[in-house]
């Protein structure tokens, strides 16, 4: 059976172009208090005209609008979405149902501990579970995403140095394969970044690290397994080097889906770590969030965790903000609570064996893809990998085909493309992370599409460079978009 057919799909203008005076999709109950005219309550200087340009559409039009738009998206429930570094795994329906239970979803963050025991148990229990999963000593669920978590963790490291030595130190070491948020977060926390090159294996060059690791370095910020899917085998030596100089180690745990039940960062010398509930723990990515980036740390660093903390005492839960050494807050209230609900639901659904099975199958799937594709695509590093594999477009370049082309051509085969051009250390990187979700049938279909594309690149490169031909649009003009930005509709 061919993977795709070609069918019609409905176009749809902007909602503003569907607006017409007198249409409405809402109803409100009649006002039950005295209907005092607005002008008698507020001086007219406070009042606006009606919101210019706001749409007026019926409920039917609204639903059709968004339904049509929705059909233009590729999504996990449709097929494989092998974005490297993103752990685009299946988002269980049960999580969504649980997160919508009204006694959980319709609770106010300031309603007080006595009225929030259920929610506080969720937060507490998730924290405890994440500690066990990572072998760390304390967790905060406050950061709303990976980047905010990095920032939080680096601030904690800073606070730690400050309190130990009265000096936050000046630099953060970051491997050149790191995600862009790492250096951006370090700078936001007031540090300068020193890049550490990768060695021929795709790992941190420990010799260079030794050189750069001085007493001016606050921490090394690494990702393990790194963005090539490669485990930093020398992690213990690395930790020694860093700790020896009084430095700390921050681990970007975006790739924890490779390790659950197999190894724990807390046993590798990691001092601070974040993980992404929206990657490893299956909360949906939502087209760009909301995510959640819990931060975990060793005991030494726990005084610096954000406030409030969730604590348990005598079967009662409470929020504690009285932590003078804390870095403060990075988010109002308690972060993206709804994601914590989903993550806990997922952990309970999978159980201890299940979590391990997930990581095992994620790693197996990635290795299977690698093995089956290494004859067709250039493998910049032949180091063994865990949960993801990075190829380059070197072989395809010979006929002028690039990673971008391969990615676009995959669309015609009914797949979302992998992450492209990242990590930066691989030219024309094609970063493939299958996760554990897919059937062998789906993996094989992806592999066969990739193989077919490699043949097309050789025999009929135009086919690839003109892809996609079966998507709604093809190759949007990004230069034009950036040069004269149209960032909103205007009448």
């Amino acid at each position: 059976m061919k993977r795709t057919s070609v069918t019609f799909n409905l176009n749809e203008p902007l909602i503003f172009d569907k607006s017409g005076p007198g249409k409405a999709a809402y109803t409100l109950p009649p006002l039950d208090v005295e209907d005092v005219p607005v002008e008698e309550i507020l001086d007219s200087k406070y009042l606006r005209q009606e919101v210019q340009g706001f749409p007026e559409v019926s409920e039917v039009e609204l639903i059709r609008h968004y339904t049509r738009l929705s059909t233009w998206n590729y999504h996990i429930d449709l097929g494989m979405y092998p974005l490297g570094s993103c752990s685009m795994k299946y988002n269980p329906k049960l999580n969504e149902r649980v997160a919508r239970l009204s006694d959980i979803a319709l609770t106010h963050p300031l309603q007080g501990d006595q009225h929030s025991q259920g929610n506080l148990e969720i937060l507490f229990r998730l924290q405890e579970t994440l500690k066990e999963l990572t072998a760390m000593d304390a967790v905060s669920l406050q950061p709303a995403g990976g980047a905010q978590a990095e920032f939080t963790g680096i601030l904690m490291i800073r606070a730690c140095h400050l309190s130990r030595q009265g000096d936050p130190r000046r630099f953060v070491l970051i491997p050149d394969s790191a995600h862009g948020t790492n250096p951006a977060s370090a700078v936001l926390a007031g540090y300068e970044v020193i890049s550490i090159p990768s060695n021929a294996e795709g790992r941190i060059d420990v010799e260079v690290l030794k050189e750069k690791m001085t007493e001016e370095v606050a921490c090394l910020m690494l990702t393990n397994p790194n963005t090539m899917g490669i485990f930093e085998t020398q992690i213990e030596e690395i930790a020694q080097v860093v700790h020896h100089q009084g430095g700390l180690i921050y681990m970007d745990g975006a790739n924890l889906n490779a390790l659950m039940g197999y190894a724990r960062p807390g046993e590798m010398g990691i001092d601070v770590l974040h993980l992404n509930l929206h990657k490893t723990l299956s909360t949906p990515h939502g087209g760009g969030g909301p995510g959640s980036g819990p931060v975990a740390c060793k005991k030494d660093l726990s005084p610096y965790l954000p406030v409030p903390r969730v604590e348990q005492e005598g079967g009662q839960y409470r929020l504690n903000s009285d932590e003078p050494a804390s870095i403060g807050r990075v988010h109002a209230f308690y972060g993206n609570f709804g994601m914590a609900v989903r993550a806990l639901c997922y952990i309970l659904s999978c159980g201890r064996e299940g979590l391990k099975e997930l990581s095992g199958m994620a790693v197996l799937s990635a290795n299977y893809i690698r093995r089956r594709l290494e004859g067709y695509y250039d493998l910049p590093y032949d180091t063994p990998i865990l949960h993801e594999v990075v190829f380059s477009d070197k072989r395809q370049n010979k006929t002028g085909v690039t990673t971008l082309d391969i990615a676009k051509r995959l669309i015609d085969y009914g797949f979302h493309p992998p992450t492209t051009y990242f990590p930066l250390i691989v030219q024309g990187a094609l970063m493939i992370e299958p996760t554990e979700s897919h059937s062998k049938e789906e993996l094989d279909a992806f592999i066969e599409a990739m193989i077919a594309i490699s043949r097309e690149a050789r025999d009929d490169p135009d086919l690839v460079t003109s892809a996609p031909t079966t998507a709604k649009l093809t190759r949007l003009d990004e230069v034009r978009a950036a040069r004269s930005p149209q960032l909103r509709w205007k009448p």
Binding site: A25, L31, G289
Partner: protein, 447 residues
């Protein structure tokens, strides 16, 4: 394991291809001594039935808007959640996709985000808005960072009438960046003191931050402050925690704001115990290349057909790394979609009617409370009340009647331990408003 799709036999075949005997062998690059020998100390897998039971039981240990009437706001508001929202966002097409990096197969998210950006511009009266930040508090921090970047100045003026948690976040974000946060006094009306502002504001100031309606519910002096800012070459940053207010009140954009940051929770997002919420960020067109966060722009494809892409990415961390305008990556995409659906559902007429209902219902309580108001300034749907008794105690009494009372201000301001910040929305009934007033005043109120 229902989340894995590979049979034992297929697993065997895959292992064979991979050249190893057992899955464990694939973890060979992890040093022996780092490999976990024990099973994780996490419970065994629970069934769907048991999980639902567990979370339902947890829910029963909470108060919720299903069983209580809330007079509590303070940055999180109990508003109408149109059924349409969940119908839209429950479509897997929207909630299981990634950030729209591949525009050919992400036009749904892209167009919806473009519409969101437009709606936020219209609501705030600004020229350009981004695709969302984490929440109102970090949006404030990002706004200040942008002002510092843009003006190349390092001082910020901000009154205590900005949400205290937002201020705390701002302090955390700026702590290590050589930025000085200075206090701007406010008057008995609850508004900032304009004379003080005039005195304090100098050429060293990057921005003045004002919240309106402010944390005490009072409509603040945005226009006057913005004028002073303009004169001093500082940016005027306006924080809005109650986004619904802009359905009726003159928006910051019409009052001279340079940057509007805010919390979009009121726009269809469930209270959700504080998150996920929606950071709003809007500014003037001339500052667009200084903005943090994702932006969707309109363009054409190679065949000339109109479409949307993520744009101005050179501001962002994945291109610019340490030189990026912000470290943000994943933001609050689905919450932005919620807000877009909410605003489209209500539309021009609904947003105003809803805002008016808030104003009128809150006013009915304000009238009942009369002289116990702590500030004299105009209010929208929140107000601070002087209590004859410990507000925590009053709240206990209210809880007995199915009411979650206001915020005891002592929690943030020890000197205000006899005050309560009260919120009335369209969800509050006349009956409970009257009962609330009675209990608060400790007397029977004539109808």
């Amino acid at each position: 394991m229902r989340y894995v799709s590979i049979t034992p036999e297929e697993k065997r075949l895959m292992l064979q291809v991979t050249g190893v005997d057992r899955v464990e062998d694939l973890f060979g690059t992890i040093p022996e001594n780092l490999r976990l020998r024990e099973t994780l100390d996490i419970p065994e897998a629970a069934s769907e039935t048991d999980i639902l039971k567990y979370f339902r039981a947890l829910g029963q240990k909470n108060a919720s808007a299903e069983n209580f009437e809330y007079f509590l706001g303070a940055g999180a508001y109990n508003h109408f959640l149109p059924t349409l929202i969940d119908s839209v966002i429950s479509r897997a097409e929207f909630y299981t996709c990634y950030t729209p990096y591949q525009p050919e197969i992400s036009q749904g998210t892209l167009q919806a985000t473009f519409e969101f950006q437009t709606l936020i511009c219209q609501l705030t009266g600004m020229e350009v808005a981004n695709a969302s930040l984490y929440d109102g508090s970090s949006a404030l921090a990002e706004g200040v960072l942008m002002a510092v970047r843009t003006t190349k100045r390092q001082k910020i003026l901000i009154p205590q009438s900005v949400h205290p948690e937002y201020r705390r976040v701002l302090e955390t974000y700026t702590a290590n960046l050589d930025i000085q946060i200075e206090d701007l006094p406010f008057t008995e009306s609850g508004c900032i003191c304009l004379e003080s502002l005039e005195q304090l504001l100098s050429e060293d100031h990057a921005a003045v931050v004002i919240q309106s309606p402010n944390f005490f519910g009072v409509l603040d002096e945005v226009e006057a402050a913005s004028r002073l800012c303009e004169r001093a070459g500082a940016l005027s940053i306006v924080v809005v925690t109650e986004a619904l207010s802009m359905g009726l009140l003159k928006p910051p954009g019409e009052l001279g704001a340079d940057i509007v940051v805010g919390e979009g929770q009121s726009l269809g997002i469930p209270l959700g115990f504080g998150g996920p919420y929606l950071g709003l960020f809007a500014t003037k067109d001339k500052y667009k290349r200084q903005m943090p966060g994702r932006l969707v722009g309109q363009t054409v494809d190679s065949l000339g057909r109109p479409g949307f892409v993520l744009t101005l990415a050179t501001r962002e961390q994945h291109i610019r790394r340490q030189k990026a305008t912000s470290n943000i990556c994943t933001n609050q995409g689905l919450c932005a979609l919620i807000a877009a659906v909410f605003l489209t559902t209500l539309g021009k007429g609904g947003i105003r009617e809803l805002a008016e209902q808030n104003l009128k219902k809150a006013f009915s309580l304000r009238k009942l409370l009369g002289d116990s108001l702590a500030f004299s300034g105009a209010t929208f749907n929140e107000m601070v009340v002087d209590c004859a008794e410990d507000p925590e105690e009053i709240n206990r009494r209210l809880a007995g009647e199915g009411i979650i009372g206001g915020l005891p201000l002592g929690r943030y301001f020890p000197e205000r331990s006899n005050q309560m910040l009260v919120c009335v929305t369209e969800q509050n009934s006349l009956e409970k408003i009257q009962r609330f007033a009675e209990i608060l005043k400790g007397v029977e109120v004539p109808l």
